[in-house]
């Protein structure tokens, strides 16, 4: 068992290495850096720029810079933010926890809705309820995520019942913990809802498809022939049999959720990684860009590992192999 997880984790770690090398190669192709913006400023002498360049290590060749970045990552700094003049990690950590605050509840809610609904839709296959369901999901699937985010914002603005943008109210600091939590939940409500709507459909469709595939097998027909009640048939027998592809989908759903989350954070001004990444791009703060992308990849790999753990727990075939 430990060997199985060690192998999966090692694979994830290697992937992270690959991603960082890829990002640094891209970094190399970038025309101009943060300092080329300063260069426009006539108040700053060329000597200062050369000095800054040396100080940030931008005059070093790529492998050296990569090595330095690795060292700084090992220290937990993840490079240096030119724009804010701090280690990139001081910018990244709070943003990362904010992004997780949105995505983890959204992930749980999406799966909690998608699994029962998808199984039911599979059980209703061919009936009007299923048609309605399929039509609904394909319509939702075609709706751009940007539009979903804007519509959520519109709801907040029109009804006036929800806070618009941000994570907490202005007076949040001097509230009791309970009031602060309630305030935070109130601010989270719409972004999480938008995230769920944006990521639910694909999970739903996969659940339905894989349960339908199981339902067509002969052992399910045998179980039906023995007169098992429909509900037990669907949730007691079909769902566990369909679990394997669904758990593999778990990692994919994390990736999707992170992508949608980026947009929703930007549109609803939630202080997560998304807005930070966008700001960093516009300011040419490339280490922050690398850090943000690396963080999102870490989340994704963590999601995949969690999927592996679940798979191990649920699927005896995997246990046998490992």
């Amino acid at each position: 068992m430990i060997r199985y997880f060690a192998r999966r984790a090692g694979h994830g770690f290697l992937m992270l290495f690959g991603v960082s090398i890829l990002l640094f190669l891209l970094f190399q192709t970038a025309p101009g850096d943060f300092l080329s913006e300063i260069k426009m400023n006539s108040q700053i002498s060329p000597e200062t720029i050369t000095m800054l360049r040396a100080q940030y290590g931008l005059d070093q060749p790529l492998p050296v810079r990569y090595w330095q970045w690795l060292k700084s990552s090992a220290r937990g700094d993840f490079g240096y933010s030119f724009a804010y003049n701090t280690p990139a990690s001081t910018l990244l950590w709070p943003r990362a926890s904010n992004t997780l605050l949105l995505s983890v509840p959204a992930l749980l809610i999406s799966w909690l809705i998608a699994v029962p609904l998808g199984v039911l839709a599979a059980g209703w296959k061919g009936r009007w309820a299923d048609r309605l369901f399929s039509g609904g999901t394909s319509a939702l699937l075609a709706l751009p995520d940007v539009l979903i985010a804007l519509l959520a914002l519109l709801v907040a603005l029109k009804t006036g019942m929800f806070p618009v943008g941000g994570m907490t109210s202005i007076n949040a600091q001097d509230q009791s913990t309970w009031a602060w939590l309630r305030d935070l939940g109130w601010h989270m409500l719409l972004p999480v809802a938008a995230l769920v709507v944006g990521s639910l459909t694909i999970i739903l469709r996969h659940v339905r498809a894989s349960v339908i595939e199981v339902l067509e097998s002969s052992y399910m027909r045998a179980a039906e022939g023995h007169g098992l009640p429909r509900f037990k048939l669907l949730f007691g027998y079909a769902l566990p049999a369909a679990a394997n592809p669904l758990i593999s989908l778990f990692g994919l759903s994390v990736a999707m959720l992170l992508s949608v989350s980026l947009l929703i954070e930007v549109v609803m001004s939630w202080p997560g990684i998304g807005p930070l990444l966008l700001e960093a791009i516009l300011a040419r703060d490339l280490f922050v860009v690398i850090g943000a992308v690396m963080l999102s990849t870490v989340f994704l790999i963590a999601g995949n590992l969690l999927g592996d753990v679940l798979l191990y727990a649920f699927d005896p075939r995997i246990r046998r192999q490992a």
């Binding site: 992937m15 394909s138 075609a142 539009l147 519509l151 980026l262 943000a292």
Partner: protein
């Protein structure tokens, strides 16, 4: 002789699947929705290509007197309750309250005209003309989907914006499937270390969440650029980001086809790897790649919309569905002028059509292989 033998080998190998019931086993290949979706997409692309002719205005014509004008009402019945066969509009004027309310002037109707003179446009960069499909005479305005803050006609901009968004998606999908074909083909054919390296590389691309990858690749490219460069840049960024999935698919097909008898026969006749790949293996990937492309196009249209929405894609004054929608990010615009959200709805029917095409194509592959 050699070529004929190989062809024969190919036929013999294929035959067991198709012989027997004389082809009646083949599943139904076209459905009603499939045909419908195909025609719909053709029609949409035709309209978009002919945007200059169909749009009543050019994408940069500004009616400074009409910022945020709502969609113009088309009338058949006039203020005196008389019916007209030719639809008409009334001249509108902004109310004096500064809130972008507009009032119709009942004394000044203007009928819809067909083939009137208007702004000059070019189609394909070849045909230049000033005739439009429809329009109204100047004191009146025909804003089918309202105007934006500069008084530019949203309907016209939507059509021109489609040129950017739809074709960016299409070209990027073609680019990434081609790259995928090349890399996946080589990896599958030569195998060994080359294969390992290519597939690990593809895996790295798949590991990064896709919007993040898209934006990261964009981040390392220049920000201030001309519109044409921006278009090419956006297309190549999207194409670079998306090559890995088609590459994996192609590799799979080639790996399984490499050991088939007609390929072995051809190899026995002394065909080189490159020849085999080009002549016998790559054609086999056609169906998988076509399907993959239909899957990728809507994704890549969305990618362009998102890049432009975030201000990293096509910039003003050139419209794209993304940068048009970006205006709706301002709270007052979002609340007061609902037609500013229409550019976000525009891709929905296109996506639906592409999705249903993709679904049918995927079923075909499933039932045939």
């Amino acid at each position: 002789m050699k070529a004929r033998l190989i062809k024969l080998a190919r036929l013999v190998e294929r035959s067991p699947q198709k012989a027997g019931v004389g082809g009646s086993l083949r599943p139904k290949l076209t459905s009603f929705t499939f045909t419908w979706a195909l025609w719909f997409l053709l029609a949409v692309h035709l309209v978009i290509v002919l945007a200059g002719f169909i749009a009543p205005y050019s994408f940069e014509t500004q009616e400074r007197e009409h910022p945020y004008a709502p969609p113009t009402h088309l009338h058949f019945v006039d203020c005196a309750r008389k019916f007209h066969f030719r639809p008409f509009v009334y001249v509108t004027k902004a109310a004096e309250n500064g809130l972008n309310d507009y009032q119709q002037d009942c004394s000044r109707p203007a009928g819809i005209e067909f083939f009137p003179q208007g702004d000059r446009y070019t189609i394909f960069g070849m045909f230049s003309s000033t005739r439009h499909l429809f329009g109204v005479q100047t004191p009146a305005n025909l804003f089918l989907m309202g105007t934006d803050g500069f008084g530019r006609d949203q309907f016209s901009r939507l059509l021109y914006g489609g040129q950017v968004s739809l074709f960016a998606g299409f070209v990027a999908a073609a680019f990434s499937t081609f790259t995928g074909l090349l890399l996946g083909g080589i990896a599958g054919m030569y195998g060994g270390r080359l294969d390992d390296a290519a597939m690990r590389f593809a895996e790295v691309f798949i590991t990064i969440p896709w919007f993040y990858l898209l934006i990261a690749v964009r981040a390392f490219l220049p920000l201030q650029i001309s519109p044409v460069t921006a278009f090419l840049l956006v297309v190549s960024v999207i194409g670079i980001v998306g090559w890995s999935r088609p590459a994996r698919l192609v590799r799979g097909v080639i790996l399984s086809a490499r050991e088939r008898n007609f390929v072995l026969a051809a190899r026995g006749f002394g065909a080189s790897n490159a020849y085999l790949l080009r002549r016998h293996l790559m054609p086999l990937t056609f169906r998988v790649l076509l399907t993959q492309m239909v899957v990728l196009i809507p994704q890549f249209i969305l990618a362009e919309v998102i890049l432009s929405f975030l201000g990293l894609g096509i910039g003003e004054p050139f419209p794209s569905w993304g940068n048009m929608l970006a205006q709706a990010q301002q709270y007052h615009v979002l609340v007061s002028y609902w037609w500013m959200l229409l550019p976000g709805l525009a891709p929905v029917p296109v996506f639906l059509a592409y999705h249903s095409l993709a679904e049918t194509l995927q079923e075909r592959i499933k039932s045939n292989i």
